[in-house]
Symmetry: C2
Subunit: 141 residues, 2 copies
């Protein structure tokens, strides 16, 4: 059970971005240098974040990205959703009434994994980008 780099980097980059005034755009090159993330990879990630209206892009020289909503209103769950980092614990299709391994009924553990999934998603729904920035500022003192 691992977290992928895409989700990890998306959050890392957004925390970096959220530390600024949210008026002057921040370039991906800067984030790339500061956080040690490949620029090309960041571009992939921000393309998705923009499509889900989490960030706004400003083109041209001196361009970059700014947040499209208040940091308080961006939850971890929104970020993860945007970059297709999803929690997947069950093997079967959720909607289907069939179980895993081609069974006609849900397996012995289906309910357990479902519970686990909710447990994890709760965590993601509670945390906002603002929380993360604050946590970080405090730790620095």
């Amino acid at each position: 059970m691992r977290l992928t780099s895409k989700g990890r980097y998306a959050v890392m980059a957004l925390v970096d971005l959220a530390r600024f005034d949210n008026i002057t755009p921040v370039s991906l090159r800067d984030i790339s240098l500061r956080q040690g993330i490949s620029l090309d990879f960041l571009e992939q990630i921000f393309s998705k974040l923009r499509k889900k209206e989490i960030v706004q892009s400003i083109r041209g020289t001196q361009g970059g990205y700014i947040l499209n909503r208040k940091a308080k209103e961006i939850k971890l769950t929104n970020i993860f959703d945007a970059v297709d980092e999803k929690v997947k614990t069950v093997q079967c299709k959720k909607e289907s009434k069939k179980g895993c391994n081609g069974k006609t009924t849900k397996c012995l553990t289906h309910n357990l994994w479902d519970e686990l999934e909710s447990h994890i998603n709760n965590f993601f729904e509670e945390k906002s980008l603002e929380d993360l920035v604050k946590d970080n500022a405090e730790r620095r003192v």
Copy 2:
């Protein structure tokens, strides 16, 4: 963020096993047939469970496996640990003071992932095999 089959099957097989009297051994072939899991794969999994003393093996005809401890005393965390299904959220090495991406300090999100890891592990520490068997019996009524 996905759960692997190894962990999923380990729990599934143990729930199956725990439903019996714990005196007569249950063969992997039976579990394989009932749960639709490859026999060879199950053998791999049970080898690890045996090494961690979660199950006991009985060889020969009419042989099989029984639990080595009470179902109440087997937590999900023990099972996952036995089959090397581990929750890995951070990218860096935990003990090291260095961060991910070769940084000399922990990254902006390190603490967040650490928190997430604890959150998930809590879930695993609370649930016992007995809970799972009970849950299942109830649902069947």
